[in-house]
Symmetry: C2
Subunit: 168 residues, 2 copies
Amino acid sequence: MTEKTGSPQARTILQQCLNARLQVKPADDQSEPEWVEIDRGMVVYICFFKGATEDIVPKMVNTLLNLELCETDSGKHVSVLDLPGSVLVVPQATLGGKAKGKRMQYHKNIEKIEGLKLYSSFVSVCEKELAMSSKSSEAGTIVKHGTYGNRQVLTLDTNGPYTHLMEF
Amino acid sequence: MTEKTGSPQARTILQQCLNARLQVKPADDQSEPEWVEIDRGMVVYICFFKGATEDIVPKMVNTLLNLELCETDSGKHVSVLDLPGSVLVVPQATLGGKAKGKRMQYHKNIEKIEGLKLYSSFVSVCEKELAMSSKSSEAGTIVKHGTYGNRQVLTLDTNGPYTHLMEF
């Protein structure tokens, strides 16, 4: 990992969870809200900046899934693949915010269509990497994700969020 | 707010919550675990870096409590003082982490004794600012906080975490 120079292409916040539940469809007249859920694993909040390109995605996923961002019950630090744990990906455009006076501005955020492409690609590469890990597959870990561009109604239960920031 | 140059003195992550519950004393043979809890408001995860000094604290608190980081029910963006909402401060040294290979390193984090001083001061200034806001006082909003240097067992319930990063 080299020292970053210039503006990042993406910002992620990582939190450990025992359980995380994310609404992917709000309630309407006809139906109850729909949720996705993971048990033990990692929540990835993600935001892409202007200038981010597809080639950053595999590198991001590889880094995030292999970094020792999780704690075992005995307090050892391991990757989410080695835990093994599930992954919940939460699109979070607010992470690109910058304060101007009392307001937050999001001028550096990627355009929505481009962001959706990168987000979908990120989720898809995560799914492939988990599927390729025999430890993850045997444990039945999963990747779940929120719907890009919508409100992310989230409930999080942790044994210590162990929050990290990673930029790419 | 001017463009930041050089290394930050502190890093914060801000999330909205409908309810947040933080363990401040684990269970032991004699007693149940103890928790602090807020309802609607803002969770502030905070980490100080080496070189951080006391004079940054009032500026940080003033910025964070007055920035429009919260959403009203009608979707308007307001500060936590204007919401008005409560504040949960969570010490989170992991936020100072930097990847080296697969490991996270925390070489830039402030020493524990210095960090505890700044953290305690941050909480105390938050309490004063909320108490001084008539809107907050009338609504009975509160400041709660975790115990520095310990595991932060956290449960979070949101209507969208609306996650922001602010460095100082």
